[in-house]
């Protein structure tokens, strides 16, 4: 039960709010890291077990590494450009953030399109029953889906930052939002690179079939 009259809003200074929000968002990113770690664990677990020899049967073609690394390259460029803008904001150059975050948005959008398009070029035959025919293809579909979700969220965040920067919502003392968005960008790029490394260097299982 609480009383609700004669109150006014107390606002904390930007540095206090920024410090608080950095910790909160870092914890949320940590939860997302735990989720992606579970997906990566699943990939390696099934690869090591190679149940019934069905990790990567002969009729399944692995996902092409070139497209994955193109997506990763675009994301890394986007991350660097965005981080540059956030850094420029902290040193007082607010206008830089507008166009860097816009470029980063375009990079994320391009990566999203390529990631979506990758689903179409996966050569994962299905048996007549409608199931994917290997643990590898299942893992790749899940990882690509997680990547796509990350990138779409990044498009929303980056475009929002660009729009707010254009409207003059950010200045040097209140630069914590772009800084937090940089954390997200770094994590998205890192997770994409991790998936790229897995699907480039850890495709075939070194273990014989288990039951």
């Amino acid at each position: 039960m609480s009383t609700v009259s004669e109150v006014h809003v107390h606002r904390d200074p930007p540095n206090v709010v920024g410090s608080r929000e950095r910790l909160g968002v870092s914890l949320l990113i940590f939860a997302d890291i735990a989720f992606v770690a579970c997906m990566i664990f699943s990939y390696f677990y099934l690869r090591f077990l190679n149940v019934n020899g069905q990790w990567l049967p002969d009729d399944v073609t692995p996902a092409g590494a070139v497209q994955i690394w193109i997506i990763n390259g675009i994301l890394i460029v986007g991350m660097l450009v965005f981080a540059w803008g956030a850094r420029a904001l902290r040193s007082g150059k607010a206008s830089v953030l507008t166009w860097t975050s816009l470029i980063a948005t375009l990079a994320a959008a391009a990566a999203a399109v390529l990631q979506y398009q990758q689903f179409g070029v996966f050569n994962f035959p299905r048996v007549d029953s409608g199931y994917f025919s290997s643990a590898y293809s299942s893992s790749m579909v899940a990882l690509a889906g997680a990547n796509l979700f990350h990138i779409c969220l990044t498009v929303f965040i980056s475009l929002g930052i660009a729009n707010r920067s254009r409207m003059g919502r950010y200045d040097s003392p209140s630069s914590w939002q772009p800084r937090i968005a940089t954390y997200w960008w770094i994590w998205v790029a890192v997770s994409a690179v991790l998936v790229g490394l897995m699907t480039t260097f850890f495709i075939n299982t070194p273990f014989p079939a288990s039951m």
């Binding site: 039960m1 107390h10 914890l27 940590f30 939860a31 077990l49 994917f132």
Partner: protein
């Protein structure tokens, strides 16, 4: 806790109120939007996920029909959840942020529930006290629902060959009872008290992220109807653990479970980040870590543990949903999947989850024990170390749930060791309780009864847990009613009893009324007696070999099961009395003073009812929260709201 005061910068002038849409949204629009999007999603899914053209005369493969059915079901459920959240106003903040139209002061106050009366409980209200009450009500509703299902299960088990429930309904009810109770017990302390009490206790005006606070609650509210739809969608035959590949083959009721867990895990992550940030960053001036109440440690440990653990639960269900609806084969051994993958993901969450439930409930009792013993908390640092030890070890014990599954037998010894080690910090907590009570002049009120009951129950739950952590003993008793009795002694006997104590203790602050302890004690003790009768009966039949999750059983177990059912009915009667007292006291109880227990923590130093922003000026803490000396060894004879020594809010 002695406190002084200091001013903080006051608010800038309010901007013009905007947010017309914001003011129209409530649970009514949430249900309307939820239904609209649910039917739209269903219509779209039925027309989009269609059977491919097959050669004439060929029947559609049953597995493909099954996949399409699950796609439609999951899409429909997602439509409901998204629509509900849209209608309650959860997306207002992100959309307005995106367009650079931040909320004005008037909007913020409106969102905090200013001058909205009871209706604020049915909106996307950000005031932490409103969210706390919302959590309390939904927790009690879920416990009531899960408890009713338990009565149905026990009625079926009253006689060996009963057909009170059909086998399918029985299996579904066992699974639903499990997951409803797990969800309810996970939120039962961190939800109501972590939201209502914790910010005041640390001298904050609100949570760090008020909108995320409301989001975490309404996500749970949105998914409760989805979970309750399970029996109408063919049920779930798997129990609450939803083991695969059995779950892969289950009817669409399983989709409700999958959707519930995904949404619940998101809610838990959001709440965890919010509560942790609040406790770490918003403690008032002078509240060092050694002056921070033990309840704060308990809640932070719980939600901090949930942040890495629950994504594993979510991942297990995302993969299950993909298997069911997208045709992946994570858990299908014929196509390279593995049931052990599911078991690992599930139990990596599953065992920390026990401590996510237990730690805050025990911490709540640790919080109130010094108040009723008028003695400082014995070895505060030992209590903190014990909580940290339990948290640390709890992530290293998950495979003791899989001893008999055949997974990694060579690791059994190490998991046995880590599991048995966890009894050391747990024992330390017992020591803190007993040390605090030792030679204290105990004020025997109902919250203190909860401490006694918890200690009794937790000793039994803990010691039987040591048996089960031992591989040779577990090989005989796993999958039996003995296991069921053990974890009920832990989760219900310790955690739920702790929560009941917390409800009675903080009831005056949360509702402005005193809890009727005379009649409430009848309900409380009936629950405790019924609980022990139920589960000691279950220990005996389990020890004799009765497996759990069975619809009918051998005549040899008839007496023990009959006794258990009688005990369960006693719990039911006690719970109804307790619930009645809660409602009656809330409506017509004696008006509570600000500090009826004479406690020293900050939540008792603010007026009752608590003002919207808790403190007009923020307090400064100058001493520890358990400084009960000999001068005030006896509690006040009558409730008093006079300030304690050194207090000056």
């Amino acid at each position: 806790m002695a406190i002084a005061t200091h001013e903080v910068s006051a608010a800038p002038g309010s901007r013009r109120a905007g947010g017309v849409l914001l003011r129209k949204m409530s649970v009514v629009t949430a249900i309307a939007c939820g239904l609209i999007l649910m039917f739209a999603a269903h219509y779209w899914a039925v027309n989009f996920f269609v059977m491919p053209e097959l050669p004439e005369g060929q029947d559609a493969p049953s597995a493909l029909v099954y996949l399409l059915e699950n796609r439609v079901t999951l899409t429909t459920m997602a439509g409901w959840v998204v629509g509900f959240m849209l209608g309650i106003g959860a997306f207002n903040g992100p959309v307005r942020w995106f367009f650079g139209k931040d909320l004005s002061d008037a909007d913020l106050l409106y969102q905090a529930g200013k001058d909205q009366g009871v209706w604020r409980y049915f909106r996307f209200t950000t005031d932490h006290k409103v969210v706390g009450i919302q959590y309390l009500v939904i927790t009690m509703s879920l416990l009531g629902c899960g408890g009713t299902i338990a009565m149905l299960i026990r009625t079926n088990l009253m006689t060996p060959s009963s057909s009170f429930l059909g086998p399918t309904a029985y299996n579904t009810f066992v699974g639903m009872h499990g997951i409803i109770m797990i969800v309810a017990t996970i939120i039962m302390v961190t939800g109501p008290f972590g939201n209502f009490i914790l910010p005041i206790m640390i001298g904050a005006r609100d949570m760090a992220f008020p909108r995320l606070n409301a989001l975490s609650f309404w996500l749970i509210a949105s998914v409760v109807p989805v979970l309750l739809s399970t029996p109408f969608l063919g049920g779930m035959p798997t129990g609450w653990v939803a083991y695969n590949p059995l779950a892969d083959q289950a009817p669409p009721g399983m989709d409700a479970f999958v959707m519930t867990i995904i949404v619940f895990a998101i809610s838990s992550a959001v709440a965890g980040a919010n509560i942790t940030t609040t406790a770490v960053k918003m403690r008032t001036r002078g509240m060092t870590w050694t002056r921070t109440p033990i309840f704060v440690y308990g809640v932070v440990a719980s939600v901090g543990l949930a942040i890495p653990a629950f994504p594993a639960f979510m991942a297990s269900q995302v993969l299950s949903g993909l298997d069911r609806a997208a045709g992946t084969t994570f858990y299908n051994p014929a196509e390279g999947g593995s049931g052990w993958l599911y078991a690992n993901l599930f139990w990596i969450m599953g065992h920390p989850e026990v401590y996510v439930i237990l730690i805050p409930a025990v911490a709540a009792l640790l919080e109130l024990t010094p108040v009723f013993c008028r003695r400082p908390l014995f070895s505060f640092k030992a209590a903190v170390v014990a909580i940290a030890g339990i948290v640390g070890l709890s992530v290293l014990v998950w495979a003791h749930h899989m001893y008999m599954s055949g997974w990694a037998p060579s690791l059994g010894g190490s998991f046995m060791l880590t599991t048995e080690l966890i009894s050391i910090p747990t024992g330390l907590l017992f020591l803190v309780f007993i040390g605090t009570m030792w030679r204290g002049r105990i004020w025997t009120r109902l919250p203190m009864m909860a401490v006694y009951a918890m200690l009794w129950n937790f000793v039994i739950g803990g010691i039987t847990g040591v048996y089960l952590s031992d591989i040779p003993a577990d090989s005989a008793m796993h999958g039996s009613m003995f296991v069921t009795a053990h974890f009920h002694y832990t989760l219900m006997g310790a955690a739920l009893t702790g929560t009941i104590g917390a409800v009675i203790y903080w009831f005056p602050k949360m509702t402005g009324r005193m809890f009727d302890e005379k009649i409430g004690a009848w309900g409380f003790w009936l629950i405790q007696i019924g609980f022990n009768v139920t589960f000691i009966g279950m220990f005996t039949v389990g020890f004799a070999g009765q497996p759990r999750r069975v619809f009918n059983y051998s005549e040899a177990f008839a007496v023990g099961n009959f006794v258990s059912t009688m005990g369960a009915y006693t719990i039911g009667i006690g719970a109804l009395i307790f619930l009645g007292v809660v409602i009656a006291s809330w409506r017509r109880g004696i008006v509570a003073t600000a500090n009826p227990w004479g406690a020293k923590t900050l939540e008792w130093q603010v007026p009752t009812p608590v003002p919207l922003e808790n403190f007009d000026v923020l307090p400064v803490v100058t001493s520890d929260p358990y400084g009960y000396g000999k001068s005030d060894a006896r509690p006040p004879d009558s409730p008093s709201d006079r300030p304690r020594e050194g207090v000056g809010v």
